[in-house]
Amino acid sequence: MRTAIDPATAAGLVPDGASVMVGGFMGVGSPHRIIDALVARGARGLTIIANDTARPGVGIGKLISAGCVARAVVSHIGTNPETQKRMIAGEIAVDLVPQGTLAERIRAAGAGLGGVLTRTGIGTLVADGKVVLRVGGEDFLVEEALGADVALLAARTADYSGNLAYALTARNFNPLMAMAAKLVIAEPDEIVPVGVLPPDAVHTPGVVIHHLLERRRHG
């Protein structure tokens, strides 16, 4: 069984200066209520690991605009002029990582791998300072595992034991990040009793989830 916590409690579990994985792709599949609570508590100095910084006012874009973020490890920032502005002003450091490499580095951390060998980035700025290994007559970059202190996820459905199922393109980085952080908090659209999700429909086993966000309360 997992316990359900409220957004302020969840935000309180994310210390200033922590490295934080945030699920989502342009805000789709991001844990919006936890993000709002992080902004409300005035989080500072976070290293955000995510696909992108969405747009101003959307998802991770809110963390950027509120000044919560010191560093962003992402595959692109082109959709958020605010991130670009703060990067140029020296307020946010940005590490750009090819999207597939970002996915594999996060997965590697969750799977106990030291890293993976990839063609992506060979002959580009991405290869600077990295080890190149020759396998089967071809050069591969060694890309190291990337873990985090905290992962903040969104899911379509959770059961009481923390098993998660995602919907459509809101899945994206969420199942990878679920495995790759020391503390994992998931914000599901709905929470159902144990046994409602069939074993083959679960995308993330509940054993890796530490907390669920309580369901949204009305009026």
Partner: protein, 217 residues
């Protein structure tokens, strides 16, 4: 027909039946509008779906279903959703038959630059480096020149997206194929002469013996 439609319709002729295809954001997306009759392709969006469709009827949008640009799409029967690691396993593992991407520059070796302009614009590579390194065929769809400046250049002045040579360049003026020997001019757009293309291209061009007119879907 404007030049974007021209490019999209020419690229559409490259689509092969029963294959997996990824279209980049912007101009490449238009290719989906011109799939030739009798050809069925599976379109992948790298945020995690194969088989997405046109935007849904108003009021039917699902916040869990968007394209890589974050715009609402629909799902066709037989669509499949997956996580980002699987999405890029498809892209990098040789399962993607073709990707269509925009370009800032292509050099005489057929190397593409399309992810940053140092000191000016640093959007990031997103999935572009993976797509260029991993797709079986890489088609660059772009305007031949920008504000009169050639985009097909002798040497890249911008950082490359991959060391790999792209498969084909389709512009509003021409179809050019990078080969071991250099860039080969294969086709010209309606009303465009070989001389026009050579003039608008900085990189040396090898003019094919049988330069044809572009065939459009």
């Amino acid at each position: 027909m404007d030049s974007k439609e021209l490019i999209a319709r020419r690229v559409a002729m490259e689509l092969v039946d029963n294959t997996l295809v990824n279209l980049g954001i912007g101009l490449p997306t238009l290719v989906a509008n011109y799939v030739p009759k009798g050809v069925h392709v599976f379109f992948q969006s790298e945020n995690g779906i194969i088989g997405f469709g046109a935007p849904p009827p108003e009021g039917m949008e699902d916040e869990h279903l968007t394209d890589a640009g974050g715009g609402f799409v629909s799902a066709l029967p037989g669509a499949v959703a997956f996580d980002s690691a699987v999405s890029f396993a498809l892209i990098r593992g040789g399962h993607l038959a073709m990707t269509v991407l925009g370009g800032l520059q292509v050099d005489r070796h057929g190397r593409l630059a399309n992810w940053m302009v140092p000191g000016k614009l640093v959007p990031g590579m997103g999935g572009a480096m993976d797509l260029v390194s991993g797709a079986r065929r890489v088609v660059v769809a772009m305007a031949h020149t920008q504000k009169g400046v050639a985009k097909i250049v002798a040497d890249l002045s911008l950082p490359p997206t991959s060391a790999r040579r792209v498969s084909l360049i389709v512009t509003d003026l021409a179809v050019i194929e990078p080969t071991d020997g250099g860039l080969v001019l294969r086709e010209t757009a309606p009303g465009v002469s070989v001389a026009d293309v050579v003039r608008a291209t900085e990189a040396p061009l090898i003019v094919a013996e049988d330069v044809r007119d572009m065939v459009l879907a």
